[in-house]
């Protein structure tokens, strides 16, 4: 299996978001229908369904390409991804009314209010989560698919 390394990198990259999508959908459907929380599922699903898997795949392709000139750990590579994804996600969420800016902070899904002071720690948490996901899941898949 030596051909098409970038295709394999893309497939290994989209694995995690594709796996998370049904879980996310279940959580939001339970919240919307089961618990009567007014979450706009249709708008919420656009970013995780259309953007996140592609970004993960492309980011893993970028990792593979960068290994020739600038070898680095895959965990660190993944930890940088929130720097790219957070603004894109916030932009999509704002334009679809999934997230609103207010005087007190950010309001996500019309229910979850996050004070501005928590944005930076939240960012660190996201980077830690991505570091672990990329190191242990995407890295393992890369090895399985013979591109690590």
């Amino acid at each position: 299996m030596k051909t098409h390394p970038y295709l394999r990198a893309y497939l290994a990259g989209i694995f995690v978001p594709t796996l998370m999508l049904p879980i996310l959908l279940t959580v939001f459907i339970v919240a919307r229908i089961g618990m009567q929380i007014p979450t706009p599922i249709e708008q919420v699903m656009i970013f995780p369904m259309a953007v996140v898997p592609s970004l993960f795949g492309l980011w893993n392709m970028a990792y593979l390409a960068s290994q020739v000139r600038l070898p680095h750990a895959i965990g660190l590579h993944g930890a940088v991804l929130p720097l790219l994804m957070a603004p894109i996600g916030a932009l999509v969420a704002t334009s679809l009314n999934v997230m609103q800016f207010s005087a007190n902070g950010l309001t996500w899904f019309q229910t979850c209010n996050i004070p501005y002071a928590w944005v930076a720690p939240g960012f660190v948490v996201a980077m830690a989560a991505y570091y672990l996901v990329w190191k242990y899941v995407v890295g393992t898949l890369n090895r399985v698919l013979g591109i690590a």
């Binding site: 995690v16 978001p17 998370m20 879980i23 996310l24 959580v27 939001f28 919240a31 919420v44 970013f47 995780p48 996140v52 929130p82 994804m85 957070a86 996600g89 969420a93 996500w108 899904f109 979850c112 996050i114 939240g122 948490v125 996201a126 830690a128 989560a129 570091y131 672990l132 996901v133 190191k135 242990y136």
Partner: protein, 77 residues
């Protein structure tokens, strides 16, 4: 390839490679250096394991303390 060219190549190879003793045994014991390298590698991976474990525990703690962060985390995964 002429004989003198072959001889020149042999000479270059001899210069490039470190000399080996007559009986084929290295001049110093290489095993302690090998052990040191293995220990250093194991210590590094042990630290990485602890670091990753602490990160995972921290993340689990954040999710437990702030359950409202779960949909947001799922949104970005």
């Amino acid at each position: 390839m002429k004989e003198d060219e072959l001889g020149g190549l042999k000479g270059l190879l001899r210069e490039a490679l470190p000399p080996v003793s007559e009986d084929g045994v290295p001049e110093r014991d290489l095993w302690p250096a090998m052990l040191r390298r293995m220990d250093a590698k194991a210590a590094g991976s042990q630290f990485a394991l602890w670091f990753d474990g602490a990160l995972l525990a921290g993340l689990a703690g954040v999710v437990v303390v702030f359950p409202k962060a779960i949909p947001l985390l799922l949104y970005y995964l």
